[in-house]
C-alpha cells in the first residue's frame, strides 16, 4: 500500500500529500481531456489577438492626439534673449495623484531598476499643517501636494560642480541638459544640486536627469509631465532670467524648499491661497542615514594622512631637530610613505567613478569645478612627492641635489595643502549645513594632523631599524614625546568638534543640523560610539603610555624598542580606523535641505 501517490508533472515527479492521494486512486493515468483541451487552451493563451480582431483607429493621425490638451500649457514662441523656459506649477490644481511621475517614467523610457526603486525624474511631496482660522473658529488643516523636477536653474550647481563638463545649459532655451556619454559617474552633481535632481544609476555608471523633454518642446509638443497632468497643474512658461535671479535673492520660491539663492531655480510655484509659513514637509521628521560613498571615505582619509605626514615630516626636518642623521634617514622614509599612501588614496577615488575609463576628462571643469581642481592639485602633489622621494634617493650620493630636494619638499607640502583645501571646497560648495566652511576645514585639517603626527613618528621609529646611530629612545626623547603631546591635543580638539554637533539636539527646529545630530545619536549611534572609542584609544591612551619616562630610557629599565614601535603602530592603526569611521559619518549623517518629500519617504 503506497503512502503517497507519485505523479508526473513535466519532467519532475511529485508526491501528493497522503491525505490527498488516498482519496485519488485514479490519478496515475492521464485523462482524455489532458491531451486535447488543455493543450488547445494553453496554445490559445499564447496568441495575442488585439491587432487581428480590431481595426486600427489612429493609423492616419499625423498630429499628436494629446495636443488639444496641452496647447495652452506650452509657450507659443521660443524664449527671447534674456529669457528661458521654466516649469510653472499651479499648486491649487495639484491634487497629489502623481500621474506626472509615472508618465515621465513611461514616456521617456526611464529605467525600472538600478535605483532605489525606479528611475524618477519628477517627484511629488507634500506640505501639511494648520492654516488660517476659519469662520467657525476652528483652525483649518492644510494639505498641499507639490510636484517637482529639475528647476533648470539660472546658475545650475550641477553644471558648475561637474568636473567633466557633462552639463550644458542651452543658450536659447535655458534647459539644463545632462550629456550622458560625457559623464564619468563621479556623482558630484548629486552633492551639488540642492534639489536632489540628478539620479545616479550604478549599473550604467552615470547620472541622468530631467531634460524638460527639450526635443518635444522643439517641435511644439509638451513635456511628458505637462501632457499627463489630469488637472493641467504643470505648464511651461518663458521667464526673464534677470527677474528669476532677483526673486531668488528674496527667496520667494517655495516654503520649506532649499535656499533659492544658491542656484536661482526657475520653477514657478503659484497658488491663489498663499501658503502659511508654518507648513511642514510630510517627511520633516524623517532622518535616514545617507549613502556613505566608501571610496571617497578612503580617498579623503588617505590623502589627508599623506599630506599630514609630509607636513609634519617637513616641519621636523626643518625644525630644531635638523641634523644630518634626520635628513638622511627619516626624510626618505616619510617621503616614500607619504607618496605611497597618497597614491593609494587618490586611486581609491577611482572606485567612486561609475566610468573610470573616462576619468582623464576631469581637467575640463577646472574653471568652475572644485572637483577638477582637487584632482589636478592632487596630481601635482603626487608628482612632487614622487620627484621628492627620487631626489632624496639620489641626494644621498650626490649632495649637490639637496637644495633641489629641499625645494621639492616644500613644494610637495604646499601642493598637498592646496589639495586638502580643494577637498574642503568640494564639500563647502554644496552649501550643506553640516559641510560648512569652518567645520569641513577644521575636520580635514585635523584629520591631516591626527594621522600625520603618528605616521611621522612611526616612520621615524621604522627608520631606526636600518640605522644603528639612531635609536627609538633618542627619537622619542628628541621629538617623539612632543609629537605625542600634540597628538593628544589635536585628537581632543577633533572629538570635541564632532561632539559639538550634538548640541543641535536641543534645537526645536528640525533643521538639517538637528537631523544630523539625530542620526549620530540615533540610527548611527553605535558607529559614533565606535568612532570615539578608536579616537580615544589611539589618540589619548596609547600616546599617554609613550609619554612615560620609560619611553626615553634606554636599557633594562626602559621600554623595549620593539614595544615602543608596537604601541605607535597600534595607535596609528586605531586612529586610522577612527578617522575612516569619522569620514563615513561625515557622509552618512549629512542631511541636506531638500524639496518637500512625501509621507513615509
Amino acid at each position: 500500500m503506497h503512502s503517497a501517490v507519485e505523479l508526473r508533472a513535466g519532467s519532475q515527479s511529485v508526491r501528493l500529500p497522503r491525505q490527498l492521494s488516498r482519496r485519488m486512486p485514479t490519478l496515475e493515468t492521464p485523462s482524455l481531456a489532458d491531451r486535447g483541451l488543455i493543450h488547445a487552451l494553453l496554445e490559445e493563451q499564447q496568441q495575442t489577438t488585439a491587432v487581428e480582431r480590431f481595426a486600427q483607429q489612429h493609423e492616419q493621425a499625423s498630429e499628436p492626439l494629446h495636443s488639444g490638451h496641452y496647447r495652452d500649457l506650452i509657450p507659443l514662441s521660443k524664449p527671447q534673449p534674456g529669457e528661458q523656459y521654466a516649469f510653472e506649477v499651479d499648486l491649487d490644481a495639484c491634487s497629489g495623484c502623481k500621474a506626472c511621475v509615472a508618465a515621465c517614467h513611461n514616456l521617456n523610457g526611464l529605467d525600472s531598476e538600478g535605483y532605489d526603486g525606479a528611475e524618477q525624474w519628477r517627484s511629488v511631496g507634500m506640505l501639511h499643517g494648520v492654516g488660517s482660522v476659519h469662520e467657525a473658529g476652528d483652525q483649518l488643516p492644510i494639505l498641499q501636494h507639490v510636484t517637482t523636477a529639475c528647476h533648470h536653474c539660472i546658475d545650475p550647481a550641477c553644471m558648475s560642480g561637474c568636473p567633466v563638463k557633462a552639463y550644458d545649459k542651452d543658450p536659447d532655451t535655458g534647459i539644463v541638459r545632462h550629456l550622458d556619454d560625457q559623464c564619468i559617474g563621479c556623482q558630484y552633481c548629486v552633492f551639488m544640486c540642492p534639489y536632489d535632481v540628478p539620479q545616479y544609476n550604478p549599473a550604467k555608471g552615470i547620472v541622468r536627469k530631467c531634460d524638460m523633454c527639450h526635443d518635444r518642446l522643439a517641435v511644439g509638443e509638451a513635456p511628458a509631465c505637462v501632457q499627463s497632468c489630469p488637472n493641467g497643474a504643470i505648464r511651461i512658461q518663458t521667464v526673464n532670467k534677470q527677474q528669476v535671479a532677483e526673486q531668488s535673492a528674496t527667496n520667494q520660491f517655495l516654503p520649506t524648499a532649499p535656499d533659492s539663492t544658491i542656484t536661482s531655480p526657475t520653477t514657478i510655484y503659484k497658488s491663489k491661497k498663499p501658503l502659511p509659513k508654518n507648513l511642514l514637509p510630510a517627511d520633516y521628521y524623517t532622518a535616514n542615514a545617507q549613502h556613505s560613498h566608501l571610496p571617497l571615505v578612503v580617498m579623503l582619509v588617505l590623502t589627508q594622512l599623506s599630506v599630514g605626514a609630509f607636513a609634519v615630516g617637513q616641519a621636523l626636518v626643518s625644525g630644531p631637530w635638523q641634523e644630518p642623521l634626520m635628513l638622511s634617514t627619516v626624510r626618505p622614509a616619510y617621503a616614500i610613505t607619504g607618496f605611497l599612501v597618497g597614491f593609494v588614496g587618490m586611486h581609491a577615488a577611482v572606485f567612486h567613478l561609475g566610468r573610470p575609463q573616462y576619468a582623464f576628462r576631469a581637467f575640463l571643469g577646472l574653471r568652475t569645478s572644485w572637483l577638477s581642481r582637487e584632482i589636478v592639485t592632487f596630481g601635482l602633489f603626487a608628482g612632487c612627492a614622487f620627484a621628492y622621494a627620487v631626489s632624496l634617493w639620489f641626494a644621498s650620493d650626490w649632495p649637490t641635489l639637496l637644495p633641489l630636494a629641499n625645494g621639492l619638499g616644500w613644494l610637495t607640502a604646499a601642493s598637498g595643502g592646496l589639495g586638502v583645501a580643494c577637498s574642503v571646497m568640494i564639500y563647502v560648495k554644496t552649501k550643506r549645513p553640516s559641510w560648512n566652511g569652518p567645520r569641513t576645514t577644521a575636520k580635514f585639517t585635523l584629520t591631516s594632523l591626527v594621522l600625520g603626527l603618528p605616521v611621522a613618528l612611526l616612520v621615524s621609529l621604522a627608520a631606526c631599524y636600518g640605522n644603528s646611530d639612531l635609536t627609538a629612545h633618542t627619537v622619542m626623547r628628541d621629538y617623539g614625546q612632543t609629537l605625542c603631546r600634540w597628538l593628544i591635543v589635536v585628537v581632543a580638539c577633533e572629538l570635541a568638534l564632532e561632539a559639538s554637533v550634538l548640541l543641535w539636539l536641543r534645537s526645536r527646529e528640525h533643521s538639517p543640523m538637528k537631523r544630523t545630530a539625530l542620526l549620530l545619536s540615533g540610527e548611527l549611534s553605535m558607529t559614533t560610539l565606535l568612532r570615539n572609542f578608536f579616537g580615544v584609544m589611539g589618540g589619548a591612551l596609547l600616546p599617554l603610555v609613550l609619554l612615560s619616562d620609560k619611553a626615553i630610557t634606554p636599557g633594562e629599565t626602559g621600554f623595549d624598542p620593539l614595544f615602543l614601535g608596537m604601541i605607535v603602530v597600534l595607535s596609528t592603526a586605531l586612529l586610522l580606523i577612527g578617522e575612516l569611521i569619522e569620514r563615513y559619518l561625515f557622509f552618512a549623517a549629512c542631511v541636506s535641505p531638500k524639496m518637500p518629500g512625501a509621507t513615509g519617504a
Partner: protein
C-alpha cells in the same frame, strides 16, 4: 581630370580625415552623443502619439479599458508584433480624455512580475508548493470538491469571486458553480465595496441603476461628495470636476481633511458615522425652508410625507450636537444646495462601508429626489464604484442576483434564464445565495467545507483578519485562482491555479457610469497560466458539465448570451452588436436596447422621471440612525478610520506592489495618522513607532502626526496587511457590507522599536 583636381581631392580627403580625427578626439574629450545618449532618444511615435522612446516605438496601437478602478479609463496600448510594450491614456475615450492615474500608466509593468503563477501548485507534506500539470490540478479540484459535496451536501462547497475579472468570466463562473457544480452559495469581493450602493438603488429606484454619466461632474454648479476622496481614489473623476467651467461649489462630508476636502469650498468635517444624521439634518432644513421641488416629488416620488415626518427631529441643533458641524455651516450647506441649479450628490466608501450604509446612501438619494436633482445634466444621486468591474458583477456574476439582474426566487426569471442558456430549469437554485460574511460564518459552523477563491484576497482584505485566518484554515479544501501565487490567501491554498491577468485575455468591464468597455489580449501569460475563462472551461470539462456551456467557446459567445439575458431589463444591451461595436464607440453605456439609435457618448438615466418600481416612482427610504457598536471607550479611546492611502495603491496591493514606479510613490511601511494634540497627550513623537491595539489585534506602525485627522481619531490605510487585524466585523443589515471605518483602538509609543 587635371592634376589640380586630383590634388584638391587628395587635399580634401586629407582635410576630412583630419577633421574626422579632430571630431573623434573632440568626442572623446566632450561627447555629446553615444550609446548612453541613444538609450533615451525619443522619436515621433506615429498613431497620434507624439514623441516616444525609440525602443518602444509601436507598429500598431489599440485601445482597451484599464483594469484597476471603476473609472474605466481607456488606455492606448502600444504594440510591437501584437504585444504590448507601452501605453498612453486614450485621448478620444469619453471617460478619461487622454489622462490616467499612476496605476493606469503602470498597468502593464505588473504583468511581468516574478511571482506570477506559471503552474498549478499543490503543497506537499512539508508545506512546499509543488508545481503540477493542469490535468492533475483539475482532477484534484474535481475529486476533492465532489467528495466534499457527496459527504456534506452540494451546498457545502462555495465560491468567492471578484469585481476584477471580465463580465463574461463572472457569468461563466456563476453559471458553472451554481448550475453546473450545484453550489448554492457564492459571493464576490464587491460585497466589500459596492453592496450598499446596489441595495440602496434597488430599493429606491427599483433596480440597481447608478443614474449618471461623468459629464455630470462638469455640468453641476454644486457638487456634494460624501465619504469620497476623489482626488486620490478616482483621480480621473476629479479631473472631470476640475474641468467644470461653472466654478462649482464643492461640499465635502468627511471626517478627515483629505485632498478632496482640502480642495472643497465647504468641508463638513463631521464626526465619524454621523453622516446619516447630518444628511437628514440637511433634508430637515430643505423641507423646513420649502427648498424642495414639490412638483417633482408629487409626480415621481413616493413616501414623501412619511419622510418629512421622520426628519422632523433632525433639527440643526440636534445635528450640531451629534455631528459636531455647526448649525450655521449646516444651514449654509443646505442653502448652497437650494441655490444650485444643477446639484449632483456623489458617494463612495465612506458611505458604503458602514453598518448603516444603505440608509445613508438612501439619505443622499432622498436629497436628490426631494430637490428634483435627478435625470438632468449635472444632477443625480451617484454612487462611485470601486473595482473595475464591480458593476459587471452586480448584474452578471450570478451571485446575489440571478444572471442579468434577475431574481433566483422568481420562477419566471429562472425560466427565462434557463431558456436563454438552454439548460434545464432545475439546475437553477431557487434560493438566494449567502452573502460573504455568512459564507465565512458557514465555514466556522462547518456548513461550508470547500471554498474556491477567484481573483480576490480575503486573507488580507476581510474584516477582523485574525479570526478570518483561523476560519479559512478550517476548510477541508481551499482553491485559490489568481495571477500571483504570493497573495496572503494563495499562500494558504490547498490548490493554487495560475490565472492570466488583465491584458492577457478578452472580455468586457462595466464602469461606474454603466459604460461597457472592452478588454483585449495584448500580452502573453507567463508559463502555463490560463485566463480565468479557460480555467472555467477546463473545470466544466473535468466536472462533466461541459455540455451545459457548449456554446461558450470564447468570451464573446458569453457576451452574446448576456445580451439576451438583459433583454427587457433596465440594463438591456441587446442593441450592442459585438465587441467591434464597443471598440468603435469607446464603450457603450447601458441601457442600449435593440433599435436604440442613441449615439451620444454620454447618457444618463431617469430623464423622463420614470423609475423601475412598478408604479414608475422612486421611493424615499429612511430609518432612525443607530449608534456604532464599538464606540471609543476608556480602554480604547480612539476611533480607527481606514481607507485609501495614495493614488498609487490598490486594495491589497497584489498588483500595485509589483511595479517599481508605483512602489516609489507610496509609503512602504505601515503608518498611522494621528492628530498633534493626541500625539502630545500620548507622548508620541512624530515618525516614531507606535503600537495600535483593538480588542482583536495589535499592530505596530509609524506615527504620522498631522492635523488632517481630528482629535480622537486615527487613520490607517487599508493596503497594509495588518490593518484588518484591528477592524471589527460588523455589517450593514441590508447589504451585508462590512463596516471597516469604525472600531475602537488605543495607541501608545512603542519604545522598544527603534524609530527610523
Amino acid at each position: 581630370m587635371s592634376s589640380d583636381t586630383v590634388e584638391s581631392t587628395v587635399g580634401s580627403t586629407e582635410t576630412s580625415r583630419i577633421s574626422a580625427l579632430r571630431d573623434s578626439v573632440g568626442d572623446l574629450v566632450r561627447q555629446w552623443k553615444g550609446p548612453l545618449t541613444e538609450e533615451l532618444l525619443r522619436t515621433p511615435g506615429k498613431f497620434g502619439l507624439g514623441q516616444i522612446p525609440v525602443a518602444k516605438a509601436p507598429d500598431a496601437t489599440t485601445t482597451m479599458v484599464c483594469g484597476y478602478c471603476s473609472t474605466g479609463c481607456g488606455l492606448n496600448i502600444h504594440l510591437q508584433d501584437g504585444e504590448a510594450v507601452n501605453l498612453t491614456p486614450t485621448v478620444d475615450y469619453p471617460v478619461n480624455t487622454g489622462m490616467a492615474c499612476p496605476k493606469g500608466w503602470e498597468a502593464l509593468s505588473v504583468l511581468g512580475s516574478s511571482d506570477r503563477g506559471t503552474m498549478p501548485l499543490i503543497p506537499d507534506d512539508h508545506g512546499r508548493k509543488v508545481p503540477v500539470k493542469w490535468d492533475i490540478a483539475m482532477r484534484v479540484f474535481c475529486e476533492r470538491f465532489k467528495e466534499i459535496q457527496s459527504r456534506h451536501g452540494k451546498q457545502s462547497v462555495a465560491f468567492l469571486s471578484t469585481g476584477q475579472i471580465p463580465t463574461e468570466e463572472m457569468a461563466y463562473l456563476g453559471s458553472l458553480a451554481k448550475f453546473g457544480m450545484g453550489m448554492q452559495h457564492g459571493d464576490g469581493n464587491t460585497r466589500q465595496c459596492m453592496a450598499t450602493a446596489a441595495v440602496a438603488y434597488k430599493q429606491s429606484f427599483g433596480f440597481d441603476a447608478p443614474p449618471y454619466t461623468y459629464q455630470d461632474f462638469e455640468e453641476s454648479d454644486v457638487i456634494v461628495l460624501v465619504g469620497s476622496n476623489l482626488c486620490i481614489a478616482h483621480p480621473i473623476m476629479w479631473q472631470r470636476v476640475c474641468r467644470n467651467p461653472h466654478d462649482p461649489e464643492i461640499i465635502v462630508l468627511d471626517p478627515r481633511t483629505t485632498e478632496t476636502a482640502a480642495a472643497a469650498t465647504q468641508h463638513l468635517a463631521l464626526k465619524p458615522k454621523s453622516d446619516l444624521e447630518l444628511l437628514y439634518g440637511l433634508a430637515h432644513i430643505l423641507i423646513a425652508e420649502g427648498w424642495i421641488d414639490e412638483q417633482y416629488i408629487q409626480q415621481h416620488v413616493n413616501d414623501y410625507d412619511e419622510f418629512a415626518r421622520h426628519i422632523e427631529k433632525y433639527t440643526p441643533d440636534y445635528v450640531q450636537q451629534v455631528s459636531g458641524i455647526s448649525k450655521e455651516s449646516l444651514y449654509y450647506a443646505a442653502r448652497t444646495i437650494h441655490k444650485g441649479k444643477r446639484v449632483s450628490f456623489w458617494w463612495t466608501m465612506g458611505v458604503n462601508q458602514s453598518y448603516q450604509g444603505v440608509r445613508t446612501a438612501q439619505a443622499i438619494i432622498n436629497l436628490a429626489l426631494i430637490t428634483g436633482n435627478m435625470g438632468k445634466p449635472g444632477t443625480g444621486a451617484n454612487s462611485i464604484t470601486g473595482q473595475c468591474n464591480a458593476m459587471g458583477s452586480r448584474l452578471f456574476s450570478n451571485t446575489t442576483n440571478l444572471l442579468g439582474g434577475h431574481d433566483f426566487t422568481n420562477q419566471e426569471h429562472r425560466q427565462k434564464v434557463a431558456g436563454t442558456l438552454g439548460i434545464d430549469e432545475s439546475h437553477i437554485p431557487t434560493e438566494n445565495s449567502w452573502a460573504y460574511d455568512r459564507i465565512i460564518e458557514g465555514i466556522l459552523r462547518d456548513e461550508i467545507k470547500g471554498l474556491w477563491v477567484i481573483c480576490t484576497n480575503p486573507a488580507h482584505s476581510w474584516i477582523n483578519q485574525n479570526t478570518c485566518h483561523e476560519i479559512l484554515d478550517r476548510l477541508d479544501f481551499l482553491v485559490v485562482q489568481d495571477m500571483y501565487h504570493t497573495t496572503e490567501t494563495a499562500q494558504r491554498a490547498d490548490l493554487y491555479l495560475p490565472a492570466a491577468g488583465w491584458g492577457e485575455k478578452e472580455g468586457t468591464f462595466i464602469n461606474s457610469e454603466r459604460r461597457i468597455g472592452l478588454l483585449k489580449k495584448v500580452a502573453k501569460a507567463p508559463g502555463q497560466a490560463l485566463s480565468d475563462f479557460s480555467i472555467f472551461r477546463l473545470v466544466a470539462d473535468y466536472w462533466g458539465c461541459e455540455q451545459m456551456f457548449e456554446k461558450w467557446q470564447q468570451p464573446e459567445d458569453v457576451f452574446q448570451t448576456l445580451k439576451e439575458l438583459s433583454r427587457g431589463q433596465p440594463c438591456d444591451i441587446t442593441g450592442i452588436e459585438d465587441y467591434q461595436m464597443l471598440d468603435q464607440r469607446g464603450g457603450i453605456q447601458w441601457p442600449y436596447p435593440e433599435g436604440c439609435n442613441e449615439d451620444k457618448a454620454e447618457r444618463r438615466l431617469f430623464s423622463d422621471g420614470q423609475f423601475f418600481h412598478a408604479d414608475g416612482k422612486a421611493r424615499l427610504l429612511f430609518e432612525a440612525s443607530r449608534n456604532m457598536p464599538e464606540p471609543p471607550s476608556r480602554q480604547y479611546p480612539y476611533l480607527l478610520l481606514t481607507g485609501r492611502g495614495t493614488a498609487s495603491q490598490w486594495h491589497t496591493q497584489t498588483r500595485t506592489a509589483k511595479s517599481p514606479v508605483l512602489r516609489g510613490l507610496y509609503p512602504q511601511d505601515m503608518y498611522v495618522e494621528i492628530n498633534p494634540h493626541d500625539a502630545e497627550h500620548e507622548g508620541i513623537s512624530p515618525n516614531s513607532m507606535v503600537q495600535v491595539e483593538s480588542q482583536r489585534g495589535s499592530i505596530s506602525a509609524k506615527a504620522f502626526v498631522t492635523s488632517t485627522v481630528q482629535q480622537g481619531q486615527l487613520f490607517i490605510p487599508m493596503h497594509y496587511e495588518a490593518t484588518n487585524q484591528l477592524t471589527l466585523a460588523h455589517f450593514d443589515p441590508y447589504s451585508r457590507q462590512p463596516s471597516y471605518k469604525n472600531c475602537a483602538v488605543r495607541i501608545s509609543p512603542a519604545h522598544h522599536i527603534a524609530a527610523g
